[in-house]
């Protein structure tokens, strides 16, 4: 097991190395060069020369790259142009918000998606099956921010059931240790604060979770359909095993492998979706910060974010791959 993990991490190194080269070249090819991007288009030549000297943009590319990668390896992602604070620090304060939102979205999409897909397969060809297929088809084709609009309009504006934006009502004075607002509320015993933070998570969570939900429903349905008529299921029935055991240990467990892969793949979708969802709901997470970075061409933030996401993405995929052997012992042999 440890050797597998080591091998996978070793494989990750060249990819990240390549990514860092691309990102490095990307900033160097910005219109007008990095100094202009930093100072704006109206910068005087003297100011540009000063910045070039200060940041070493006038040195040979290879030297610049080595400096960049050296700092990166020490965890120095540079300083945000917009806020003037270290990029990593900015991420650290905002990432919990995004993680909280992503977790809620994931719980919703798995919690509803897997049972719905399973039920659809069991009722194959009937009303429940057809409606879940149609729903998942629509779910896949809805742009996440449009869905966010609809939810916000209906539940926050029209019916005033849920808060339209933010992470917590401004009237609540809550203590924050971890920046996970719901968790903070529970830890400090400020249950009203936790509840309020949770209410703020519902709409963005639903919006963000719907597309993964649609995909999970489809995959679960297809996978269960394929497994439920397998020979070993028939054998289990012939042996007279309880229907519950057959469904749990034979059908569902064997059908879960592609579902787990899909869930892992949804992470990319969730992070991209978070950028859009957070923008609609004025939810102060990493996504919204990224949007401001795009507008301000805050390239240290963009660069750092992409590296950060790539590492995160790779780690999640590693966890997904390792979880195969837990679900399906046959995988362990290879």
């Amino acid at each position: 097991m440890l050797r597998v993990i080591g091998k996978r991490i070793a494989l990750l190194v060249p990819t990240l190395f390549g990514l860092s080269i691309l990102l490095f070249l990307w900033v160097r090819s910005l219109p007008g060069g990095p100094a202009t991007a930093l100072l704006g288009e109206k910068a005087t030549p003297e100011a540009i020369a000063r910045v070039n000297e200060l940041y070493g943009f006038d040195r040979p590319l290879i030297v610049q790259y080595l400096t960049y990668i050296g700092k990166l390896l020490q965890g120095d992602f540079g300083v945000s142009i917009n806020t003037g604070r270290p990029v990593l620090e900015e991420f650290a304060t905002r990432f919990p918000a995004t993680l909280e939102l992503t977790v809620i979205a994931l719980i919703f999409s798995i919690g509803v998606g897997v049972p719905l897909g399973y039920l659809a397969a069991r009722h194959y060809g009937r009303f429940l099956d057809h409606s879940s297929v149609v729903l998942s088809l629509v779910g896949i084709t809805v742009p996440v921010f449009f869905l966010a609009f609809i939810l916000k309009y209906l539940f926050a504006i029209q019916w005033s059931l849920l808060p339209p934006d933010g992470r917590q009502s401004p009237r609540i004075d809550a203590t924050h240790y971890t920046q996970f607002y719901v968790l903070d509320g529970l830890l400090t015993g400020e249950y009203d604060a936790a509840w309020d933070a949770f209410l703020h998570l519902i709409l963005p969570g639903l919006a963000l979770g719907t597309i993964p939900l649609a995909i999970i429903v489809r995959i679960t349905r297809a996978s269960v359909l394929e497994v439920q008529n397998a020979d070993y299921v028939r054998t289990a029935r012939a042996k007279g095993l309880m229907e519950r055991t057959i469904r749990g240990s034979f059908i569902l467990r064997n059908a879960m492998l592609p579902v787990v892969t899909t869930i892992g793949l949804q992470l990319g979708l969730l992070i991209s979706g978070a950028v859009l969802t957070e923008t609609v709901f004025a939810f102060n997470g990493i996504g919204r910060f990224l949007r401001d970075a795009i507008f301000g061409l805050d390239y240290p933030v963009l660069q750092g974010f992409i590296i950060f996401i790539a590492v995160l993405y790779a780690l999640i995929n590693l966890i997904v791959d390792l979880s195969y052997s837990v679900i399906d012992p046959r995988v362990r042999v290879q």
């Binding site: 060249p14 990819t15 990240l16 390549g18 990514l19 691309l22 990307w26 090819s29 910005l30 219109p31 088809l137 629509v138 896949i140 084709t141 809805v142 742009p143 996440v144 921010f145 449009f146 609009f149 609809i150 916000k152 309009y153 504006i157 992470l267 990319g268 979708l269 992070i271 991209s272 950028v275 859009l276 923008t279 609609v280 949007r291 795009i294 507008f295 061409l297 963009l302 992409i306 996401i309 790539a310 993405y313 790779a314």
Partner: protein
């Protein structure tokens, strides 16, 4: 030795040779088309796409006003935006700039489909080039290309598109290129793996025995026989491209005039008026969903038609 034999012998004409034809079989593509014709899912998808294409092509004839015109400029105030049927001459009402919503939706079809088609074509071309090189040449070229593809895949595709668009500056072309590049990895991988699976096939062995050059085998045998999954993916990618284009416009990467008739842009500017004029968001949003649905339905039925394993009686 390949010069001894004229290329026509092992060329793509061979399968159509009447001597080989048993008289009963149909080609994969003809077979797929026959299946598509009877699949209601495919018909719905094709009708949707056909309608939107027609609207996009005939936009100058159908739309009462130009896409960027502001005919109702004098009829809007900061607090009132006339909705559908509330003002004569503008059946779907006006937007906050004074543009005719109906005209903008029609011109928007043209803009959004164009972005979708061009960016997918870019992604397809780039992906096929890499895929053919990797799958056809193998060896170190294959490893190098696949490592490059891995790098592109290490970032979620929408975020990759966002970074590329941010680098290129705000314009519609930047969006097309960005979405196109972000689609390259999937096409490259798909074509490569599809070609690898065909490599050991009997007809390839036959072509090799005939002494055909590697280039002829790759281009006339391997490539045409590996295109099925790629074409399915291209149809599905059209849906993603339309959605992603809207997302990039929503993030402010579109450039140009704010009143530009493009669905994603219309949605973006509808955000501020959501409480007073929700139709400004719902109409372009619905257009995006329906278009994406059309491409998805068509792509999935095409997949079903081409893949014998998923065929249902």
């Amino acid at each position: 030795m390949s010069t001894i034999l004229p290329p026509a012998v092992g060329g793509s004409a061979a399968p159509n040779d009447p001597a080989i034809d048993t008289g009963r079989g149909t080609g994969l593509w003809k077979d797929a088309f026959l299946r598509l014709r009877t699949n209601p899912q495919a018909i719905v998808g094709a009708v949707i796409i056909g309608l939107f294409l027609l609207v996009a092509i005939l936009a100058p004839l159908l739309a009462p006003y130009g896409g960027n015109d502001l005919p109702g400029r004098t009829s809007i105030t900061p607090t009132t935006i006339p909705g559908p049927g509330e003002i004569e001459g503008f059946p779907l009402g006006l937007d906050r700039f004074g543009g005719d919503v109906l005209s903008k939706l029609i011109w928007g079809a043209r803009a959004s489909l164009l972005i979708g088609v061009i960016s997918t074509a870019l992604g397809l071309a780039g992906g096929m080039l890499l895929g053919v090189l990797a799958g056809g040449l193998g060896g170190w070229v294959d490893s190098l290309i696949m490592r490059f593809v891995d790098i592109l895949l290490s970032v979620p595709s929408l975020l990759l598109a966002v970074s590329i668009a941010a680098m290129l500056g705000q314009s519609t072309y930047a969006i097309m290129i960005a979405i196109g590049v972000s689609q390259i990895p999937i096409f490259a991988r798909l074509l490569r793996s599809s070609m690898l699976s065909q490599r050991g096939a009997d007809y390839i062995l036959a072509a090799q025995t005939l002494g055909l050059s590697r280039r002829t085998i790759t281009m006339s045998h391997l490539l045409p026989n590996s295109m099925g999954p790629v074409i399915v993916q291209a149809t599905l990618s059209l849906a993603t491209a339309v959605i992603d284009a809207a997302a990039l416009a929503f993030l402010g990467l579109g450039g140009g005039l704010p009143q530009t008739a493009e669905w994603g842009r219309m949605l973006t500017y509808a955000q501020a008026e959501l409480a007073v004029a929700p139709q400004l968001a719902f109409l372009p949003g619905a257009c995006i969903v329906i278009t994406a649905l059309g491409f998805t339905l068509l792509g999935e039925s095409l997949r079903e038609a081409l893949d014998p394993k998923t065929r249902r009686k």
